[in-house]
Symmetry: C2
Subunit: 174 residues, 2 copies
């Protein structure tokens, strides 16, 4: 990627390395590596979300809406209960309701009653939704996922370490 980050031109120094020096200088040596790790995750997420949301804007999607469409496209008969979609995407029921409402307004999903559970609707991908998410996936694959800018070893170790981090916080059972 050759474009500047959204937050302006890069300065020469790494602000996270600088914060780490400050942390150590203030006697917080024990916390300094963790502070650097947390801040690095926050900053990487910000860079990615800025890029991804810009790529998805022409499709009328955000990353969260994309993830829901993508999940439905993988599901058997391209449908899933709201409950299960929320578990899989790890989003709050209220957030999922608002995501689904937005996608339904755009005719990308339909909400149908769940014959087995009156409290949880079923989301069904429409053919327009299926076509749109395939186009959006092609763009994200090409511009982001295949162009991550790290060696395959770095990518592997990143997924592995973040997997341990997520498992340690109860994100899934390892």
């Amino acid at each position: 990627m050759t474009t500047s980050p959204a937050s302006g031109p890069a300065s020469g120094r790494d602000p996270i390395a600088e914060a780490r020096r400050q942390w150590t200088a203030h006697g917080w040596e024990q916390a300094a590596p963790g502070m650097a790790a947390v801040t690095s995750i926050m900053r990487a997420q910000q860079l990615l979300l800025t890029q991804i949301d810009a790529l998805l804007r022409p499709f009328g999607l955000t990353f969260a809406r994309f993830e829901l469409l993508r999940l439905l496209s993988f599901a058997s008969e391209q449908r899933m209960t709201m409950r299960r979609a929320g578990q899989r995407l790890q989003v709050h029921p209220t957030s999922l309701t608002s995501l689904a409402a937005r996608l339904a307004d755009d005719a990308l999903v339909e909400r149908v009653a769940n014959p087995d559970d009156g409290r949880s609707a079923i989301l069904v991908l429409t053919s327009a939704g299926a076509a749109l998410v395939d186009e959006a996936t092609e763009v994200l694959n090409r511009e982001v996922f295949e162009a991550i800018g790290l060696s395959s070893d770095d990518v592997a170790v990143l997924v592995e370490v973040l997997g341990r981090f997520r498992a340690g916080r109860g994100d899934f059972a390892p």
Copy 2:
């Protein structure tokens, strides 16, 4: 950390590993590792931000407001131009203006005119701001940064790999 993530109880399977299998099954092998890395960063950030914002809520702070106070507390005479603070924190000028306004409302910072540049105010940490950010730092150090739940090798490699990722996107000059 023993609390459940905000998004509900962990299911047994890792949804990111599952998405990766789907990506490969759909013929996107080249993009699958990058997709897993990007989604892992997004999810780790979400877990961290949920925890940190909950810890900072009693202080009337968000992580973004905390970072600005912390930066000022490290600065010479605990003051810095808005311009320089924005560069260091890597936030948009408009976001910084709104962060500073909120902190000024709470009497944690003061905005004073910059004698060298009429277009860029100077932010000065107040003594109330200095005391509050020290208390908040103590909590984040203890509950988050020293309790990250990864080995020191994992933390080091995470910072290193994310540093290469950030540098590759122009976040700083390596």
